[in-house]
């Protein structure tokens, strides 16, 4: 089987080891550049189920700001990020928004909730 080289930068800790991974098909046969075992876990994750935390904003009606920042409670599968952003784009919350409010429950069936990152008071509340 032909061997393929792929490069990764591990982000488990701030060190950011540059990893050189030799693959045969879907299998990792060799890894160089990692300073610890976590590099292997990282690459395994990136190859099989890469996930990311997603942070963005959502529209708010009647609040002191027109947008509220939101975040995924835990990382979601990387290939679904753009779909999630499109879903969030459709939503308009009504003020007041409270930190921790669930904006989307079980987003796109991933089991991950999207929450509000802060309070957004209603416009009349503000002095």
């Amino acid at each position: 089987m032909t061997q393929e080289h792929r490069k990764f930068i591990c982000i488990t800790c701030p060190r950011g080891c540059a990893l050189d991974v030799t693959m045969e098909g879907e299998a990792v046969v060799k890894m160089e550049g990692n300073s610890c075992k976590r590099g292997i876990d990282y690459v395994t994750g990136e190859l099989n189920d890469p996930r990311r935390m997603v942070t963005t904003t959502v529209r708010v009606r009647g609040g002191v700001h027109p947008l509220a920042p939101v975040y995924t409670e835990s990382p979601i599968p990387k290939p679904r990020i753009l779909d999630l952003l499109a879903e969030i784009r459709k939503i308009e919350l009504r003020a007041p928004v409270k930190f921790g409010d669930v904006v989307i429950e079980n987003a796109l069936g991933t089991g991950v909730n999207v929450l509000a990152s802060r309070n957004i008071p209603a416009k009349s509340e503000a002095s």
Binding site: T57, V58, R59, P66, L67, L85, A86, R89
Partner: protein
């Protein structure tokens, strides 16, 4: 609007056009002042060294010399009437080394010939006392006590506002296209906003004064060649220069100055680069290097670390020979009522000392019109006084307190670096000449010119402008149509 007939149309609301409008507004005339840009004074008038020259530099016998000296003398009264910032500080032509010192006397003689009062030659020790950071090789200076500094855009706004309050109609975003002729008589102008009829037209179009006069078939050999001058501005907390310092002048320019300004910043520049493009105000690596070399010759201890801004201005340099054939000079002002056509007051090539000369040029225009048979009847209700609007940062704490008590919006500081308040911004948006763009507010209030260069204030100014003008923030621009800050809401449905 298109059917209204004016007595005078003035093309170009720079400092010259605005001064002409102001001085003509005294008379019972219907006056229209047009300006192609979104705001007045966006040409040479707002990008220069801000000096009211003493008048020793222009060649004797030229209009430049005459207008400079007469204009200079008018500034105290004018500043008092129009309430713009002007300080008659005196300026110094600094000689470095013995050879340059020898040139000072001939400069002084030239000044005497031009009628400049109050000039003194100082020795090196005198100069060092007055400006401790001066190049230690300083050999002396020509001290011209009538030189001054001002806020040049402040002069334009003050003159134009006074004109408008006294009845002049101002139209911005209005570009002259052609004259409307009846035989050899100019009876009006065509613009992008329609045709306007008038008995007189004043050409004060600055960089485009050649284009305008050529449309009337005048002076085909006259050409405006823009000469770019670049500047550095320094942090006023770090660099303090006490005076206006010129080098000994060369053949092509007054040289690269190091000077204080009425806002307290030190600026250095300008260089003098001839270019073709009348809209090219880009700053260049070479230009900045050149002015830096010139500046450290005067003040070696300057540090680029403390520069906070750069800008460039274009001088509308013309090639008109002096009207007096005995004077060998071919870059003089054109100030005339030409014989070839009727109904035109032609002003061309008003580069430095244009700002200093502007009130004198305006007075000359009035005289020319009288000489051409215009019966200029004075308005009894003409008010030469224009009141200045409050500038929060220039006020004492007790004055600031009273201002805020009277209007709480003066309590909200929008530009942190220069302490410009919301009250001032709102006042400019609703002034006789409304400020509708960010740069227009910046020119008037000095907001955004400090260390953070608008980093903090821009979103707030956009919000205030949108609110006061009753438009979406998407329509707010830096300097007119095409320079809007924002392109769409973050959550625009169409984006994805």
């Amino acid at each position: 609007m298109a059917d209204k007939k004016y007595d005078v149309i003035i093309i170009g609301a720079g400092v010259v056009g605005s001064m002409v409008a102001r001085f003509l507004s005294r008379y019972k005339l219907d006056i229209l002042l047009i300006e192609k840009d979104s705001d007045i004074g966006m040409g040479a008038s707002s990008a220069n060294t801000a000096i009211i020259h003493a008048g020793y530099d222009p060649k004797p016998g030229t209009l430049k010399a005459e207008m400079n000296v007469v204009g200079n003398q008018m500034f105290d009264q004018l500043a008092g009437e129009l309430n713009f910032t002007f300080e008659r500080r005196g300026d110094y032509v600094v000689a470095i080394g013995p050879e340059e010192f020898a040139k000072l006397e001939s400069l002084r003689q030239q000044g005497l010939e031009n009628g400049v009062p109050g000039m003194v030659i100082l020795n090196g020790a005198d100069v060092r006392r007055r400006e401790p950071n001066i190049n230690p090789e300083v050999s002396g200076a020509l001290w011209a006590t009538t030189g001054g500094i001002c806020d040049p855009f402040g002069v334009v706004v003050a003159a134009a506002e006074n004109a408008v309050v006294n009845g002049v109609t101002l139209m911005t975003d209005t570009t002259f296209e052609d004259f409307i002729m009846d035989g050899k008589r100019i009876v009006g102008i065509k613009t992008n906003r329609g045709d306007f009829r008038s008995r007189w037209v004043v050409n004060s179009a600055g960089l485009y004064s050649d284009v305008v006069m050529h449309k009337a078939g005048l002076r085909p050999e006259f050409k405006i060649t823009p000469r770019k001058g670049e500047y550095y501005v320094f942090d006023k907390a770090e660099i303090t220069i006490n005076n206006v310092l010129f080098p000994v002048p060369s053949a092509t320019s007054k040289g690269i100055l190091v000077t204080t300004t009425v806002h307290g910043n030190t600026i250095i520049g300008p260089n003098a680069l001839e270019i073709d493009d009348k809209e090219d105000r880009s700053i260049t690596r070479e230009g900045l290097d050149e002015i830096w070399q010139g500046a450290i010759n005067l003040i070696p201890s300057l540090s680029l670390r403390y520069s906070i801004a750069e800008f460039a201005g274009l001088r509308p340099g013309g090639n008109a020979p002096c009207a007096n054939p005995d004077v060998n000079y071919n870059k003089d002002f054109i100030i005339e009522i030409p014989k070839e056509v009727e109904g035109l007051v032609n002003l061309g090539g008003i580069e430095s000392p244009g700002l200093s000369s502007s009130p004198a040029i305006a007075v000359r225009v009035v005289e020319l019109l009288k000489g051409a048979g215009e019966k200029l009847e004075e308005k009894s209700e003409w008010n030469p006084i224009r009141k200045a609007r409050p500038r929060f940062r220039d006020m004492l704490p007790i004055e600031q307190k009273l201002l805020i008590e009277n209007d709480p919006s003066y309590g909200r500081v929008i530009c942190r670096c220069e302490n410009v308040t919301e009250g001032e911004i709102v006042a400019e948006i609703h002034a006789p000449i409304p400020a509708c763009t960010y740069d227009a507010i910046k020119r008037r209030t000095w907001l955004g010119t400090g260390r953070c260069q608008g980093g903090f204030d821009t979103p707030r100014v956009v919000e205030i402008l949108a609110r006061e003008l009753g438009v979406s923030p998407l329509e707010i621009s830096k300097k007119g149509k095409g320079s809007e800050f924002l392109v769409r809401p973050t959550k625009d449905e169409e984006a994805k």
